[in-house]
Structure formats: C-alpha cells, structure tokens
Amino acid sequence: MADTGFVQKEKLNDFLNELSKDAVVYAPCLEGDTVIFKAFDSGTTLCLDRPANNPPKLVVFPQSETLFSFKYKKDAEDPRKMSVELEANTDFPRAIIFGARPCDAKGFRIYDSVYIDTNTPDPYYKGRREKTMIATLCCSAPSPGCFCVAVGGGPAHREGSDVLITQLEKGYFIEPVTEKGRAILNVPRIEDGEQYAEEAHKRQLESHDLVRNPFAEDGQPKISRALFDLDEFWEHVVSKCLSCGACTYLCPTCYCFNITDEQALNNGERIRSWDGCMFSHFTLEGSGHNPRPTKFKRFKNRVGHKFLYYPEKYNGVIACCGCGRCIRHCPVSVDISEIVSYLRGPRFEFTNEPPESMGTDTNSQEQKQ
Amino acid sequence: MSDVAARELRIVGFLCNWCSYGGADTAGVSRFKQPTDLRIIRVPCSGRVDPLFIVKALLNGADGVLVSGCHPRDCHYTDGNFYARRRLEMLKRLLPFLGIDERRFHYTWISASEGGKWQQTVTDFTKRVHELGPLHAKKEATP
C-alpha cells in the first residue's frame, strides 16, 4: 500500500461521497457568506478557501446531547408510588471531519486531557472521539486574527490530526498521520501520492512565517501573576466586552458545559449542552450568590483558564490553539492575543498607545465631508 | 363527536376568564355541538396572552391557535383587551413573514352570553385548520 495519497481537484466531491458511504462526513460548507461545519451531502457546497466560522468541535462535542433518558412508571400496586428507569446510549456512528484546520485538530488534544485521560473518562466524548477520523487541511495563508505559531501550533501542525491534507495546484495531497488515518488510503478515487510529496512538504512550510506572533518579544505567552491578579487591569482591557458567548462557542478548545433536565409528562432526558464562562448565569448559585459576578472576573477566568490554569494542570500546554475565531468574530473585536501580550507585565501602562503597527487614522482615512 | 370527519388536529385556545371562557361554558351548557380539536387554556384576560404563547404553541406542535377575549370596551380589567388587540394584530401580520399561514391563528371577542357565536367560531376555525392540514406534517414532532 502507498504511504500517501492524492485526490484530483475535480474528483474531491466524488472522494467525499466515497467517504460518506460508511461514515458521516463533516466538512466546511458554504451557506450564504458563512462557512460552517456540517454533514456533507450532495446538496452542500464545500468551501476550503478559509477557516470555517465555527470549529468542528460539534462533531465530538455536540452543542447539545442526551446523557440519558428517564421514564417514570406508576406502581401497579400503589399508584402514588413511581419508579424510574434510566437509559443511556454511548454508542455512536463513525464520523470523519474533513477539512479541519491544524488549530481545530489541536483543539481536540486539549479536550482529550480533560475528557479522556482522567480517572473518570467521559463516555460520550470518548465514544465519539474514538469513532471520528480527523482529516486536516494545512493552511496556505493566515486569516485575520490567527496566531497559531505563538501557542505551539502552525499552519501544518500535525497534533490531533489523523490525516494531513495539503492543497496543491492539481489537487489534494493526503498523508496519514496516525494508524487510524491510514484507512483513508483505501478509499476509492485516491491515487498514489508519492510524486506530489516533495511539492506538498515544501508547500506546508511556506506559510509558517506569515502567521503573526503577538508575543514576539518572548516568543510565547508569559503572564505576570501580579498583573493578572490586578482588577484594574481587567476593568481596563475588557470594558468593551458584551459578555456574549461568541468567543467561547466558536473556540476549538472551550469545553465547558451545562446539564439540564427536560421532562414532558412521565418521560424526559438529561441533556448536556454547551455553556460559556462569559455568561453571568454560568456560576450563579441557587442562593443568588455569584462568585464571578462581573464580566471582568469572567474574562479573567477565561484568559486564566487558557493561559494559566490549564497549563498548570497539563504540563504547560496552553489551552488556546490560536485559531483567531474569538478575535475575528467578536462583535466588538476584543483581542485575547493583545490582552495576553499586555499580561507579560510586570506593569501595564494604562495609557498605552496601540502598538505602532496597528496605527491610528490618517488624513486619507477621514470620512468624506 | 368531531364535526370534521378527519383525524383530530391540535388547536390551542386561550380564553379570557371573564367573557370567552363563559361563552364556551354557555355553549357547553346549552349542549351546542362543537368540534373537539380545541384544547382550552383559561387566562385571566386576553391581555395576558403574550404573542410568544402563540408562537410557542405553533412551533411545538399546535396546528392552530385561537385567542378570544371580552369585546373591546367590555374588558373586566378595563383595557387589557385593547393592549391584546395591538399585540395580536402585530403577530397576525408577522406569522406569514415566518412562513406560517396566518389563517392558523385567529383572535376574536366573545362575551359570556354568546354561546352561539362561540360554537360558530370554534366550528369555523376548526374547519379552516383542517383545510390547511397539519402544520408539522413533514417534520417530526418536537419532543
């Protein structure tokens, strides 16, 4: 068997249809001007030109899923008594994520430590994860806001991927990364990729230096604990935050969730659904007390979780993959990379000018009068 | 004893406590024959009916919604139905924009003595909803 494969550009849809035969294929599809990961079928328009608005995390960690269903049953002897039956399903269909980006794939590795490598593994995440093959498309150019190289990733980073795909002039060079990924070479419509390997590997390196590193001074994020613990810092940098959940819901590494019960008559389900640390109700207790009552405290927790707490727990790994979605899609352009770069500390000039490169307006940028 | 010879559909009725619920009661006591698709929810006043009640019902399985209150100027709380009239009219115009036939929603005013009008309204409305058929025919029912 060949070690690598190649799919001609015009045969990509056919190839995906082949893949769809024994797994649900999730791919970035165009809807209006929005690119979203969804189940690929003949009616969808594939879009591999730019990262999807949402990451593919929903394949392994759906926005909502049933943990178990319950049924209340009346006791035949004593109608006042009810018994309960529970039923959980942790068996999931095979899935393929086609066209994830290296940052997206890395996000799953962040999840794995929390959901699988623990003494109480999560059977839902684990069940889906094991059944999912991740075929990642290398980035040929950074998107606005991207900073993967600053957090240990890169446009052709392999961590978390089962297959790495490189887009070339004529088609797609396909390279298994894991044993699971080798299966892709058996799919019909794939050719031997050997003659393209050299070009692909050259291509993979090209865009690395185009990705910005907002932590250029140190090469990696460095956090001054004194500054991090300063309330005024957070009040200053996140006053414009709207406290919505766009950043967390679009984040390939945000994994917080809520659990709620829904019942109709005697039947119901316990549901797990995405939740976000930017929402006030996330930590609101029954008594009305809220340990993180302000957006400043919540934002501090979000940055802390990604750049301090998670690394503290998991060998220094940063729980941010630098995909830039939270920056690109924030309604008010809150920039987490900028905030973390300020946190280098030890002091923060509250009157800071924006860095030179960001510029202020010039005459030519004036609005017409 | 459905008047309409077809499978029952789900019609939700929001009736004000003071007039329309009494009207429905009058119809019942007078043994007027009525279709049985309607499920009545008694509310203190038509002004209590948040347009979202109607939307929620339609999105969650109802095939039609009927709202009935006291006649204008006859509201038990003086002006509840005046507010209701504006809100319900707004919703009536919004539904087709969403792709939901506005004929699935009807609002009207029926007093406690108008048992006959109640019977007529329920019969006509049920008939109309049956003509339109089930709203959620193609989709699976929401759990």
Partner: protein, 278 residues
C-alpha cells in the same frame, strides 16, 4: 467510582426518611435501590454527592452521615433554588438519583491525636456533622473536641437530636449561640465569630474546621488568625454551582482547582495559594 462506569449516570435510590430540621432545611435518608451497590458503597467523611430529581436536575450536598454508620446516606437540603425546592416536596418512598461519592474529604488521619475545634453556622454544620460523628465513633483517636455552633434563631439550629446528645456527653464540649435574644433561649447570643473571640480557644495542637455562610467564614478566618491559628491548621469547605461533579464542566474552579473534584475540603493555606476570594 470505578473506571468504566458512566460518571453521569446516577444510581437509583429511595428516600427512606425525611426529617424536618428547621423551617427551610430538611434531611433525607436514602438507600441505593441496588442492595449490592449499597453494601459496597464506601466514602470518606466530607465527600459529597449529587442528588437528582429526574426532570428537574441535580444539586450537590455533603453526605452528612458518617461512613461508620452505613444503614443509609443522609443529605441535608436547604430550600434555595429550583432543585432544592422540588427536593423539599419529596416523601418517603420517592425515587431519586445519587451520584456519589465525589470530591475529597477531611484529612482525618492527620488530625489524629490533635484537639479539634469545630465552628459551624446554620446548614454549615452538615459537613462538620459527618466528621463529628466519625470522630465520636473513633473517639480514642482524637483529643479534646469543641463544637461552636450558631444559627439565626433557635428554630434554625440543625440536628437538634445530635446537639442534645453532644451536650450530654462529657467528652465533647458544645457551645451554642443564636444571633439575637429569643424567647426561651437561655444560652449564648451573638454571632459565631464574636463568640469565637469570647471563648478564645488555644491554637496549641488544635485543628479548626469551619463551615457556614460565606460572611461567617470570612470573619471566623480573620478571628482564628488573631488567635494565632496557623493557615494549615484551619480547614474549611467550599461551595459553588456544580454540574458535572468530576472537574470538567468548568464552573466551580478557583484557578486550576475544581471544588467538585479537588475540593470541597481545603485548608486556608491551600486557599491562599490558589488565591481564592473568600
């Protein structure tokens, strides 16, 4: 909890007894429906469990009966929110779900041979009760036991039968207080932190364990410091909104520690290290 078990799936359990503790606190004695599971059930004093009312949700409570008395598991529930309100409507025979044990426990091994000072307020006596009963069942292992417990009014005192028993024992010193004068109350009045200052226990060879409303804990900690208790000899339990109970869902953290998994029992020294805001 064993490795392969679905950590989100509760064990079914039956309420066998409901005890009215105070006007807004009830205790529930429950047993797991599976007798084998009930027999094998083991936990440590201070560990918590999630009680489920299916259709409403889950809430976290400490198992306040000690592992030395395994006829049932007892939980005390104050009516505050959606789930607790529904739990308050449960009767004997009703079915609930239990996910337990979760979290860490009191370091009772390290307390052996030491004098123990319990400081509790209101429903905060629940976690202390587990440890008190556990220590009384292993009385010889521990030195003097002092219990300072207070509530708003006498009817708000929990575990009145226990209090009576502890009061009658010669190997326990119990100090009760209520916030203000109350008809028929002939014991101390005043807030718990104030009474703590009045009785001024010696920090010598003593472990202080405190639990109660946040404001009480705050001042108790201040006063213990004034009494020269060392941070590592002050132990408290924390509470937060919890969902998963296994350190994943993200809401109960203080820094990198999750109250549900790494807690709820912490020493003041640890809390200072984690920069917890209390």
């Amino acid at each position: 909890m064993t490795e392969n078990k679905n950590p989100y799936l509760p064990d079914l359990a039956t309420v066998i007894k409901v005890i009215d503790e105070t006007p807004n606190i009830k205790s529930y004695q429950v047993i797991l429906n599976d007798p084998e599971k009930m027999k094998m059930f083991s936990y440590e004093p201070g560990q918590v469990g999630q009680l489920s009312v299916f259709g409403v949700g889950e809430s976290t409570f400490v198992i306040n009966s000690p592992p030395t008395r395994m006829d049932y598991l007892q939980f005390s529930v104050m009516r505050v929110g959606e789930v607790t309100s529904v739990i308050h409507e449960l009767h004997e025979g009703d079915q609930i779900g239990v996910r337990a044990p979760l979290g860490n426990w009191f370091p009772y091994e390290d307390m052996k041979g030491k004098k123990i000072l319990f400081i509790g307020g209101g429903i905060g006596l629940a976690p202390l009760r587990t440890l008190i009963l556990f220590m009384l069942d292993n009385r010889a292992d521990y030195g003097d036991i002092t219990i300072l417990y207070g509530s708003r009014t006498p009817p708000d005192l929990c575990y009145k039968d226990d209090l009576k028993e502890w009061e009658s024992r010669s190997d326990v010193s119990l100090i009760l207080t209520v916030d203000t004068e109350y008809p028929g109350w002939d014991k101390r009045t005043g807030f718990v932190p104030t009474v703590l200052n009045e009785i001024a226990p010696s920090p010598e060879d003593t472990i202080a364990i405190t639990c109660g409303p946040p404001i009480m804990i705050k001042f108790v900690l201040q006063n213990l410091a004034k009494l020269n208790f060392k941070d590592e000899n002050i132990i408290t339990t924390l509470e937060a909104r919890m969902k998963c109970g296994i350190g994943i869902c993200g809401r109960c953290n203080i820094g990198s520690k999750y109250i549900c998994k790494d807690g709820p029992v912490f020493s003041l020294a640890q809390l200072k290290e984690y920069r917890a805001e209390i």
